[in-house]
Symmetry: C2
Subunit: 383 residues, 2 copies
């Protein structure tokens, strides 16, 4: 039996534990037959259809997909040429979906290679109990982030003067934020899924957090820790509606606004012929308010100036607003600060609100794996 | 003998190790005489002159100083009232300077309390060999940051598509950046002291890093890790000169620009009466270029648009530019990207440059202490 391992979508993120999947496969096939051999494909799926072979250490990862008919044909040819019995794919939902399609193609085209997926993602959104209780990497990432959040919380308690707003990786899912909150017990943790279910607005969230800050302040505590999931903004319904209308109205290829956006995007790249982004943006902000529905215009006005500017200036080549680039922790700190200023003027709030920002992502994807992830990965590989 | 411990400037930052100083003092005075007692002041120096006593666990820290004649008198009164033999100050350069002044005041005013300082700061800039080889906290902070930078480096190697720009805490000193670089071996690490010594400009630094990125790209490597010290910008001479002139010209109370700045600063706090920051800023950018010297105007033009806007909009109540708020890693990524675009147009560079940003600070100040810091702190206390 021959086995090979593309690094498909396999970030070293969960890499040290990921190695254990490979070690497990090796142990498993050797137990099955002493002459079994193992082959690794470098750089993910690209390695499968281009026949790019390599050792199983440091396979690297790829974001490619096997998509075109030619790539599928090449994949069959490569697997047939080396007489491959099994292909193990280590990756997240995208990689495993692609793996399933590849498996069907292999079967209908008489290729003997069986495709097996190993569930890898730190996001914790790839599970299907009882078959897949959890993806590997989640446990390691949560414990790495929890260590950092714990450090920040201890510092908050000592300095007694900052609110630390911590944004955690995890794409749309708030699984990581929830798990880290359960470990570290911050003063608040927002979950995107709850925000969406309860149809909460940015203002609702702001008022809630301001209430907590006001209450703690009355108790002499002008400090704390608030955890936010990376995908929070996507879950706020009014925000979705605003973004959607902005994209509709501004990404229109004929619209003047799109041209402005593209020009500004490269403004600082051409210092020799400086474009004045400020003048151009002015036209845009006015024109935006003129075309938006009343609800969306109100939502737009509620945003702090630097976020409004970001929405108008920082768009992708298609003119779409880049929601992922919005730093949620800074947006919320600004709306909370504005709300607290109103309460201060009314006399109900007398504290000080000094935010500090943290965004943890890549540093949690390549930590030393936990015992759980190490054992889980070896078991996955050996099965 | 009685001993007491203000948390002066003592962040729990280095807190767990800091506890060992206190444990060491306790062991030391008990060895000296079994009836010795230890008293702690809560919340730093504020506790000394206000007589705010507390247990030695979780003393908390303070940024207050003992400054006024009244505060000095009160400190003497409190120390005399409890018959204090020794006062141990755990803090950085500010705290220990204040401690030295307090010691002189105690001596000249016939107070028997002796003041002893314990050197605490993660920055690693408080040393005076052979008396003080290093402050405690530095070792723990460096190893905490090195773990994170190491994780990021492993992820960079796997994904093979990002340049990670990591800014590390440490105020003006680059000690932490250097130590972490020696542990993790990134592709580049800038040291503020070298930049200052060699009078390097932002453009010089940009060209150097672009050279490295171009060279790595020719080798098929469009990824890497670059470490920057928090205080880098202060060390770039031309930048200092620009900031100084901006402050001179713009902070003039009569100048129109200052008014604009103040208005904009609070623009997003008053959504009911929206000020258009964009229109106001335009006037400012024009007026700035008109009044700057040629060298400083060139330097200003070399900056990316978002940094120019930040310099004009984000000023403190005195109208001064807030250099500390500039995110050095984003500034450098923008100038590097612009330089690489020029090289791409010329044909010498064919790669892609996708930066990812990290700023590690508070998360390194409250980590589990290293064996070195733990032992060092106990020894400091027991001496």
């Amino acid at each position: 039996m021959k086995n090979c391992f593309p690094g498909e979508g396999w970030r070293r993120a969960v890499g040290w534990a990921g190695h254990n999947v490979i070690a497990g496969v090796f142990d498993g096939i050797k137990q099955w037959h002493k002459d079994s051999t193992m082959i690794g494909f470098l750089d993910g799926p690209h390695g499968v259809f281009s026949g790019n072979l390599g050792g199983f250490d440091m396979l690297g990862s790829g974001r490619h997909k096997i998509e075109s008919e030619q790539q599928f044909q090449d994949s069959v040819a490569v697997c047939n040429a080396i007489g491959l019995d099994g292909l193990v794919i280590i990756g997240g939902d995208d990689s495993n979906t692609n793996g399933a399609v590849l498996a069907e193609y292999f079967k209908t085209h008489g290729c003997k290679t069986k495709v097996v997926g190993a569930p890898k993602t730190i996001d914790g959104d790839l599970k299907c109990p009882p078959f897949i209780p959890i993806s590997f990497g989640f446990d390691t990432a949560c414990k790495t982030y929890a260590t950092l959040v714990g450090n920040v919380a201890v510092d908050a308690l000592s300095a007694q003067k900052y609110y630390h707003l911590v944004r955690l990786m995890g794409r749309s899912a708030s699984n990581i934020a929830l798990e880290v909150a359960l470990i570290t017990r911050p003063n608040a943790c927002l979950l995107g899924e709850e925000v969406s279910r309860d149809k909460r607005s940015l203002r609702d969230i702001t008022l809630d957090l301001a209430d907590m800050i006001e209450e703690r302040s009355a108790d002499g505590k002008d400090y704390g820790v608030i955890i936010l999931p990376e995908g929070l903004i996507e879950f706020i319904p009014e925000f979705n509606s605003l973004i959607s209308e902005l994209n509709d109205k501004l990404a229109d290829p004929g619209a003047q606004a799109t041209e402005v956006s593209k020009e500004n995007e490269n403004a600082w790249r051409t210092p020799a012929q400086p474009v004045d982004p400020v003048q151009e943006a002015q036209a845009t902000e006015e024109s935006v308010l003129a075309v938006l529905s009343k609800e969306n215009a109100d939502c737009f006005r509620y945003l702090p100036a630097f976020i409004r500017a970001q929405l108008l200036l920082d768009r992708d080549p298609h003119g779409n607003v880049q929601v992922a680039k919005i730093e949620t922790e800074k947006l919320l700190a600004a709306t909370i600060s504005a709300e607290l200023d109103i309460r201060r003027a009314k006399g109900s709030y007398k504290g000080s609100f000094s935010p500090q920002f943290h965004a943890f992502g890549y540093e949690g994807r390549a930590g030393m794996p936990t015992i759980f992830d190490s054992a889980y990965c070896h078991a996955l590989g050996a099965t």
